[in-house]
């Protein structure tokens, strides 16, 4: 059995930052594996540990910088990695859902996995749509926002819980091959061991261009375009208590006593 995990390197923004053009200035960005994808990798690795002959392959659309992040996923137990990138992608300001799904679909067709795991969303642009769009492209079944997975490897059936709003979970059975989008909290992602990090250096990391995947440059063309980025105007009208921690704690304590919500 083969499990393909889509992973993305995403940026976290510092508290203080500046915007340069259509993105936050790189000086204020810290890159890491997308949190949701970390759980997806862990879920795949756990599957491979509890069953024989399961290969875990990761696929990323990302620049050379993201190889460090990809190596961390390999260090946690993925067997090999594919990174999609070339100059055309580097020159594209905004990759829309459809483009990403098309690129990933080409890898799914090439790899022919039995199960695809994807994060619910990416922590940067939070479209939350790539996994299901990918399933649609390749004709797989799917389930969005999965927070528990029991995989029947023999029958390739996924018994999942989907985390709905308001503390309700939906118990659903999905006939594979399927794409599941993985919610945080489904497992406890491990830290990479030193041994894992060493081994990851020797694991295959294959870079594929648009041409390698059988696309020409038009695949990145999209009617959807990012045209501006700005800091939202603060809607805050909070009263800010100022001073030393002792003073601000004092103000808060006085307020709580005045409200009569606490005693003492």
């Amino acid at each position: 059995m083969k499990v393909l995990v889509t992973v993305k390197e995403v940026a976290q923004v510092d508290d203080e930052f500046e915007i340069d053009g259509l993105d936050v200035d790189d000086r204020y960005l810290d890159y890491d594996l997308n949190e949701w994808d970390d759980y997806a990798v862990e879920e795949a690795v756990q599957l491979s540990e509890t069953h024989d002959d399961i290969e875990v392959v990761t696929v990323t659309i990302g620049p050379e910088r993201s190889e460090e992040t990809i190596r961390m996923a390999l260090a946690k137990g993925a067997d090999r990695a594919i990174r999609i990138w070339d100059d055309t992608l580097a020159d594209t300001e905004f990759l829309d859902v459809s483009t990403k799904a098309n690129l990933l679909a080409a890898v799914v067709e090439e790899e022919d996995p039995d199960l695809v795991l994807s994060g619910v969303q990416a922590d940067d642009d939070s479209f939350g749509a790539t996994g299901v769009a990918l399933a649609d492209r390749v004709g797989f079944q799917w389930a969005a926002v999965v927070n528990q997975l029991e995989q029947d490897v023999e029958a390739n059936v996924s018994n999942v819980r989907r985390e709905l709003e308001g503390g309700i979970e939906e118990l659903t059975e999905i006939d594979g091959p399927a794409v599941l989008t993985i919610q945080t909290g489904i497992n406890e992602p491990r830290y990479a061991s030193l041994r894992g990090i060493r081994q990851a250096q020797r694991k295959p990391l294959d870079v594929q261009s648009l041409d390698d995947l059988g696309f020409d440059d038009s695949v990145v063309e999209s009617p959807v375009d990012l045209t501006s980025m700005y800091e939202p105007e603060s809607e805050s009208d909070a009263v800010v208590w100022e001073g030393s921690p002792e003073e601000t704690a004092g103000e808060l304590a006085e307020f709580l006593r005045e409200q009569g919500v606490v005693e003492g």
Binding site: D125, W142, A143, A144, V145, E170, P223, E251, L256
Partner: protein, 321 residues
């Protein structure tokens, strides 16, 4: 132009986003000058159709198939409706179920999809406002297409009200059962247990800012000193530091205490959805620009590890060493 808005129901009731997509759909139809059609798929369609017949709705299409949501049924029904009525825009809720079918609908109809809209302007080329980097920035996304698919963030548009004079009609579609590859086996409520945070008058709520599980005794001491109940944002529960029944937010509990003290919580939209109805919101956070500040009534911009011990002492509690 025609706008098609898709409603959502669960366990016999329409959910609020149903009435929000009607409002947003009407707005979009007004900006372009057109009709608003509303789709009700599955469940008690006649009752739901009546409830959806609000001011500004021109037509309600019902598909009586199944009791609960199934993404294959939704996708097939919406695609068929779109082919029959050719709506320029399909407006869907950016809910867990919305995200389970919207990308498939967009894919099947070959329409561009923009998710999680918080605003839009359709007077010219469609411009959608979205958030990025956890709400730290906003972006404008332009969609230069005649036919689009859009999901809207819950609780951003008001619920449609009034009574409409829409034509309610059953939409005739043959659902291909052989293409339905997922089966819903049931539902389960999670997060029960000893404590009901929805009953608390005062909540001390913690987030990522607490950094480590070892720091929990500090906030527990504060909750004790205040006679308050401890709750948290999602990451604390994901890490297993507190049980699920303490989680405030979209996938956890919706709380409305007299006082909500958010400590080290940035205020992601999913969290805010669960606590914005609190009477008084107090935020303790190092980041003056954190989204939580937008809904806080009072704030301390400082390190929680400096402020919380002082606060415990104010109420005569013991600061854990």
């Amino acid at each position: 132009m025609t706008v098609l808005a898709i409603t959502e129901h669960r366990r016999g009731e329409l959910r609020d986003p149903s009435f929000e997509v009607i409002t947003a759909g009407r707005e979009l139809a007004d900006e372009r000058g057109g009709e608003l059609h509303v789709a009700v798929i599955g469940g008690d369609v006649d009752t739901f159709a009546e409830q959806c017949n609000r001011e500004g709705v021109d037509a309600v299409h019902t598909v009586d198939h199944g009791e609960e949501f199934n993404h294959d049924v939704y996708t097939q029904a919406i695609v068929a409706m779109a082919e029959a009525h050719e709506p320029d825009a399909i407006v869907m809720p950016n809910t867990v179920n919305g995200l389970d079918y919207a990308p498939a609908v967009a894919g099947a109809l070959d329409r561009p999809l923009v998710t999680d809209a918080v605003d839009f302007d359709a007077t010219g080329t469609l411009e959608v406002t979205r958030e990025q980097y956890g709400g730290k920035v906003e972006t404008t996304v332009e969609v230069d297409a005649d036919a689009v698919a859009l999901t809207i963030r819950p609780a951003e548009w008001p619920k449609a009200e009034g009574t409409g004079d829409a034509e309610v009609a059953e939409f005739d579609v043959d659902i291909d059962e052989s293409a339905v590859g997922s089966t819903v086996k049931g539902f389960e409520e999670v997060g029960g247990g000893d404590v009901d945070i929805t009953e608390a008058d005062v909540l001390v709520s913690i987030g990522r800012g607490i950094e480590e599980e070892d720091n929990l005794p500090l906030v527990e001491a504060l909750a004790d000193a205040l006679g308050a109940t401890l709750s948290s944002s999602r990451p604390i529960v994901d890490n297993g530091w507190l049980p699920k029944n303490r989680q405030v937010g979209q996938s956890g509990k919706v709380v409305t205490p007299d006082v909500y003290i958010a400590i080290g919580i940035s205020g992601a939209v999913q969290h805010v959805a669960g606590m914005k109805g609190s009477d008084t919101i107090i935020a303790i956070n190092t980041d003056p620009n954190a989204p939580i500040m937008d809904i806080a009534d009072y704030a301390i911009v400082d390190d929680l590890f400096d402020v919380v011990p002082q606060l415990i002492e104010q109420f005569g509690g013991d600061v854990p060493s």
